[in-house]
């Protein structure tokens, strides 16, 4: 369908629009791009006041750590191919290969695979090959941009950031699975029942959604710290202290996330025609069977979208995890707060930057793979809710 002439834009307006969008994209991406650049430089370069020396990193280059023209070309083309693959081929591939009702697992595996490929290609495969080729190519092989991965090594190996990473994974996965499994049940129930009470539950959930999290945490904290004493009469000697337990934090985050989850899933369920479960009921299914075998298979888009938002909530949380987890079980985000509070030398600061980039990288991959779902989720939640 061609655009009617009257709706077409004059050239001037078109240029302004294009310029504005370009400007917005720069603003949106710049801070993230910049911390990524900073994290690969020696401290002197990262915090230089001249942007050019942050990008090219003269002092990093002088200490012999840098990228040549050749390295950059190879790296950029590798990034381009991986990007093309995840955007255009991966979705088809996943839906073809994974069995119908396990498509979530398929997506998770695919995301993991992409991450693994990136790590292997850039971390293991490229350095020795490129070092060898650079030696041969002369001018193209001499470093022109300062580049060092030492801060990442320091953060992940010396400071044992991988422990925080594992804790983050445990908490995030726990929150996503539990909140989706009980959320879909509740969302279905709320969407299909005509009871007045369903309306009141949704209003209550809306109020709960508005509560600042610190309000809830001040309710949990004394109970969690003393839980062993409270539970001893019931559970005997093995009564657990909830404070510092990942499981307790998972339950707290699930509960905090429930209001949003049920609102969103309810609006997805309402899009599925009622006749579908009615016909299943006529064929002799119970309510639960109709839900499990008829409705769930066509609900995956909604479930994936809601899952993404649960993931973001759990992964990005600072307040709850920093107050309810002790130092050994700390997740990544509160751990980085510890970094910049004790920052003394500039090296520590660049390590904090590297840790920040490490936390952002999985999110970046996530948007790359799930962009369409995020947009449809925001839309569904907004337009119908």
């Amino acid at each position: 369908m061609s655009v009617p002439k009257a709706l077409r834009m004059p050239i001037g307006l078109k240029a302004i629009t294009l310029g504005f969008v370009a400007f917005w994209c720069v603003i949106a991406a710049f801070p993230i791009f910049w911390i990524a650049v900073m994290s690969f430089k020696e401290p002197l370069d990262s915090f230089a006041s001249n942007p050019l020396s942050v990008i090219f990193g003269p002092s990093t280059r002088e200490s012999g750590k840098g990228l040549s023209v050749f390295d950059i070309l190879i790296g950029l083309s590798a990034i381009y191919f991986i990007y093309r693959f995840t955007i255009y081929h991966l979705p088809k591939w996943v839906s073809k290969c994974s069995p119908f009702n396990l498509i979530v697992v398929g997506w998770l595996l695919a995301a993991l695979l992409v991450a693994l490929v990136v790590v292997v290609v850039f971390g293991v495969l490229f350095p020795p090959i490129l070092a060898f080729v650079n030696g041969l190519t002369g001018f193209l092989g001499t470093p022109i941009i300062g580049f060092t991965t030492e801060h990442y090594l320091a953060v992940w190996a010396e400071n044992e950031f991988y422990r925080n990473f594992i804790n983050s994974i445990i908490v995030t996965l726990g929150v996503v699975t539990i909140s989706l499994s009980i959320g879909t049940l509740a969302g279905y129930g709320l969407a299909r029942s005509g009871f007045d009470i369903a309306f009141w539950i949704l209003i209550g959930a809306l109020i709960f959604r508005a509560l600042p999290h610190s309000v809830l945490v001040s309710g949990y904290l004394p109970v969690f710290v003393n839980s062993a004493e409270y539970l001893r009469p019931i559970l005997g000697e093995h009564a657990p202290t909830f404070y510092g337990q990942p499981l307790a934090v998972i339950m707290v985050l699930v509960a905090i996330n429930q209001p949003f989850t049920i609102w969103m899933l309810r609006s997805f369920f309402q899009n599925i025609p009622k006749e579908l479960d009615e016909s299943a009921r006529v064929d002799g299914c119970t309510h639960f069977q109709a839900f499990r075998w008829v409705i769930m298979p066509i609900m995956w888009p909604g479930v994936i979208t809601t899952g993404l938002f649960s993931f973001l909530l759990a992964y990005n949380d600072f307040l709850v995890t920093s107050l309810l987890l002790d130092a050994q079980n700390q997740t990544m985000v509160p751990a980085i707060a510890g970094y910049f509070n004790r920052e003394t030398t500039t090296t520590d600061q660049v390590e904090a930057v590297a840790a920040a980039v490490s936390i952002t990288a999985p999110l970046f991959l996530l948007v790359m793979v799930f962009q369409r779902q995020i947009v449809s989720g925001l839309t569904a939640g907004a337009v119908k809710g």
């Binding site: 949106a28 942007p51 009980i182 508005a210 004394p222 699930v254 600072f318 307040l319």
Partner: protein, 341 residues
């Protein structure tokens, strides 16, 4: 669907919300009127040192915590009434400051300082987020289809980034002789220290928040723009409406429910502004209501948490959010009644 079936479906979720949201709220309410302290006793201790002929004895009274049978410090919880609230609100001091119209004296009290920041932050960022989101949505909607995907991808980045990290990434651009500070200094020809006074920190926080939330508004509005009725637009054109008039009288009314939705979410979220304080380490200059509660909950040097005061400040924070929600709840209630009747 029978009620029993409904209960079975919604039960687990409701139970969880009851245990982890409703019960803690009651608990917070009770805690705000109580205070738990260690029990101390005063004992007289006689210390004697051998001297010439007689012993020199000194009797000192010492205050020490009472230990229970298991060797732990005994604690007791007492009802303190409004004391914790008074500790936070400092009504006398605040009233004195109001009477003398002494703004800085009022701002010396943490709670009022936090309230001032939270409210101005919420109210200033709201129109910025809505406006920017709307402008980006209209602009992207006018782009060629082929590049919209990339633009949306880039736009989503600020939205999904961890809030603390997002705030940090802005902070690192400005801190010390960060490149943006240098740029500003060159532009304004003056010496700038972005982290030395409250208002520059607040500006950076506003910038961060708008940067973080505008993509959300953009995506929602963009989705709404896809459903604008083309016939209405065409008839507006036939009636001679200019581009701006079409936007003003056709598109914006169509998007109105979405604008209300985004404003609502934004009010809720920016009222609990917190991560900015952590990311910019601004507690010396700027604090927010949620940060105030957080600060009470973090153990002090001797490992004590002021639970009672945290609960009181939580209750005060909640009153604020309820006031914000009242218009919405009334509207929902009226809609619901209209539907039932």
């Amino acid at each position: 669907m029978k009620f029993k079936v409904f209960a079975a479906f919604a039960g687990p979720s409701l139970l969880l919300m009851l245990i982890f949201i409703a019960v803690p709220l009651v608990n917070v309410f009770l805690q705000s009127f109580q205070n738990t302290q260690s029990i101390f006793e005063t004992v007289e201790i006689e210390t004697c040192t051998p001297g010439f002929g007689t012993q020199t004895c000194i009797t000192e009274s010492e205050t020490r915590p009472v230990l229970g049978e298991d060797g732990r410090v005994l604690e007791k919880t007492i009802f303190v009434g409004w004391e914790s609230y008074r500790n936070i609100l400092r009504p006398d001091q605040a009233w004195e400051a109001v009477k003398q119209l002494n703004w800085s004296a009022l701002m010396a009290i943490d709670f009022w300082k936090a309230l001032r920041f939270t409210l101005t932050f919420t109210l200033i960022s709201l129109p910025l987020v809505i406006g920017l989101g709307l402008v980006i949505a209209v602009a992207v909607n006018n782009l060629a289809k082929s590049i919209r995907g990339q633009v949306i991808f880039v736009s989503l980045l600020p939205f999904i980034i961890t809030p603390v990290i997002g705030a940090l990434s802005i902070r690192w651009l400005f801190i010390g002789d960060g490149i943006l500070t240098v740029l500003l200094e060159w532009w304004l020809q003056m010496d700038i220290a972005m982290f030395a006074q409250a208002w520059t920190i607040e500006l950076m926080m506003l910038f961060y928040r708008v940067w973080h939330v505008a993509p959300f508004a953009f995506v929602v509005f963009y989705a709404g723009l896809q459903t604008v009725n083309n016939d209405t637009l065409e008839s507006a054109i036939i009636d001679g409406a200019s581009r701006f008039e079409r936007l003003r009288y056709v598109v914006i009314p169509h998007l109105m429910p979405l604008i209300i939705f985004v404003s609502l979410i934004h009010l809720m979220d920016s009222y609990r502004v917190f991560e900015e304080i952590v990311g910019f380490s601004s507690q010396a200059h700027v604090i927010s209501l949620q940060w105030l509660t957080y600060d009470f909950l973090v153990p002090d040097e001797s490992g004590n948490r002021s639970i009672s005061r945290a609960s009181a400040s939580s209750m005060l924070t909640m009153i604020g959010i309820v006031i914000i929600l009242i218009p919405l709840l009334r509207k929902t209630w009226n809609d619901h009644r209209a539907r039932v009747l």
